[in-house]
Amino acid sequence: MNMPTKRLAGRILLYLAVLIVMLIVLFPFYWMAISGFKSPDALFQTPPMLVPIPWSTEFYQRVLKAQSFFRLALNSLIVALSATGLSVFFATLGAYSITRFRYLGRDLVAQLVLFVYMFPAILLVIPLFFIFRSLHLVDTYLGLILAETTFALPFCLWLLIAFFRTIPEEIESAALVDGCERLNVLWRIVVPLAAPGLAAAAVFSFISAWNDYLFPLVLINSDSLKTLPLGVANYVTAESTHWGEAMAAATVLSLPVVIFASLVQKNLVSGLTAGAVKG
């Protein structure tokens, strides 16, 4: 083979390989979304329809019109937003403290953050259940929010400490010499500069709390407080499986996450790298 032909063959192989990889990565999402758009009869048809024509919104309607849906979505939103707000706020203060102040025990705290960042949910959920039960926090928003914070707070601290270190201190020193108060400097100078890091921290905290299954499974009993992942799981149980509804509900559950992830796509990789431990 001469060089141009060999090169062309290489290009074709590259595109083919990328195409196959992307197909394997994305096909399950396509199949999930369109399974919900099939009519109840078409869902179990063989050979299956690769494109749902005629399409039907029956399954999506069943999911969205279910009495519990609005409640589940609202609960998920309340818990995920609260855990995110709490974690990002305290982590911003904490990360600023660790990267800009000097005091006894500071390095110990930084190491502690790394250590607790490794803590798996399954090891925490057993003692947390007992502690929360004696504090009457089982089956409450607050209990679930605090439980989600056990992941989000160390994660945000870890990410923001790394992020604040990349912001040169000179800008702040100048403002401090001019008589600006510390907290003003944090709010007016550091926070705007760290906006990409804060966005990544917030999005990942939200996604992890929104997606979580184990903490609500253990800590929530009442139907009125359950979150969306528990609601989706309810469509596929040992007793009965409703695949159409399950796929429609799974699509609805994934939609905000996919939108959010694409919004912060630029910071996604750096944020993800920080998320190497969990998630």
């Binding site: 290009r11 590259l14 595109y15 390989a17 990328v18 990889v21 394997i24 990565v25 994305l26 399950p28 999402f29 199949w31 999930m32 869902l43 063989t46 050979p47 299956p48 305290f90 203060l93 904490g94 403290s97 660790i98 102040f101 000097r102 005091y103 500071r106 705290v109 502690l112 953050v113 607790v116 798996p120 399954i122 090891l123 925490l124 057993i126 003692p127 259940f129 007992f130 439980a147 160390p154 601290l157 997606n211 299954y213 184990l214 992942p229 989706v232 799981a233 596929v236 695949w243 796929m247 559950l253 996919v258 992830a261 694409s262 996604l268 990789v269 993800l272 790298t273 190497a276 431990v277």
Partner: protein, 310 residues
């Protein structure tokens, strides 16, 4: 009043007062995080150890001191050792599978082609969605009667009867490992891609003028440059998967016949379905110990590597 406030602020402070003020501000800013971490993570962890030394039942509460009885029970419990072995296999196979695939795919995405940015953006999707979504979508696709995978395989004549993905112990474990590789590969790919992009181009150019082929470049430039990232990925992802409850629970539920009951599932079932909380706590402590051993071994290995490099 204004002038008074101004004079107080303008008065030159003793440097040590200013330092002390800064110190207290620093401590004040970190305090809420430390309090939350101590109350929500460290205290529960200690409480968990204490629980494992008691007789605690979900229904009857604490009924007395158990000493090491819970641990002795685990020691003689075949299901525990089975769970440990399966858990290690599950974590190791998932990480190795993800790593090998990611090494290949990160090279693909590092080549220049039309739609490169789109491909890099879309590949992350499996990483972002809930375990509930992953588990149910794959279970639906792998369904024996109506799943697209079986219908496709039957239609193409690859198999003559449906593959029962979740029926045998080995089959179920292999299937969930496969799903987990699909789920975890994107993250590793993007991390390795970041590593690849940080390798100076000149190194490859120099190798190429010396007549090195792709494999020589890969073995002598790429892998050594990535080995730190790879080591971190193995440790951190391995730890995380070893402790991951959601995906296995939502796909196999630990079945068939408890064959895929990895330690997180065993802990959950023991605590919240059999109500033996102190035994579940002991399983948790054992998991933490396994991780500790793993971390020590890995950090020793990484340390040795650093020394040999120096």
């Amino acid at each position: 009043m204004n002038t008074e406030a101004a004079t107080i602020r303008d008065r030159p402070r003793h440097p040590s007062t200013r330092q002390a003020r800064e110190r207290w501000l620093g401590i004040g800013l970190i305090a809420p995080s430390v309090v939350l971490i101590v109350l929500l993570i460290l205290y529960p962890f200690v409480y968990n150890i204490w629980m494992s030394l008691q007789n605690v039942s979900l229904t009857q509460g604490t009924t007395g001191w158990a000493g090491l009885n819970n641990y002795l029970y685990l020691f003689h419990w075949d299901q525990f050792w089975h769970g440990m072995v399966i858990d290690i296999i599950w974590a190791a196979a998932s990480v190795v599978g993800q790593l090998i695939l990611s090494l290949v795919i990160s090279h693909l995405l590092n080549a220049s082609f039309a739609g490169q940015n789109l491909a890099r953006a879309l590949i992350i999707l499996p990483w972002t969605v809930s375990a509930v979504v992953i588990a149910f979508t794959w279970r639906w696709m792998l369904n024996d009667l109506f799943g697209i995978v079986n219908l496709g395989l039957l239609g193409l004549g690859v198999v003559h009867k449906p593959v029962l993905f979740f029926v045998t112990p080995t089959g179920a474990l292999t299937t969930v490992i496969g799903i987990n590789i699909w789920r975890g590969m994107p993250f590793m790919t993007l991390t390795l891609l970041g590593g690849l992009q940080s390798i100076p181009r000149e190194m490859y150019e120099a190798a190429r003028t010396d007549g090195a082929n792709f494999w020589q470049e890969f073995l002598h430039i790429t892998l050594p440059s990535l080995n730190r990232i790879i080591a971190i990925l193995i440790v951190l992802r391995g730890i995380w998967i070893f402790n991951w409850f959601d995906l296995m629970w939502l796909t196999t539920g630990g079945g068939p016949d408890n064959s895929t009951a990895i330690l997180p599932i065993l802990a959950y079932v023991t605590g919240f379905m059999s109500y033996r909380m102190s035994r579940a706590a002991a399983i948790g402590v054992m998991m933490a110990l396994v991780l500790l051993v793993f971390v020590i071994i890995m950090s020793r290995l990484m340390l040795r590597e650093d020394e040999s490099l120096a």
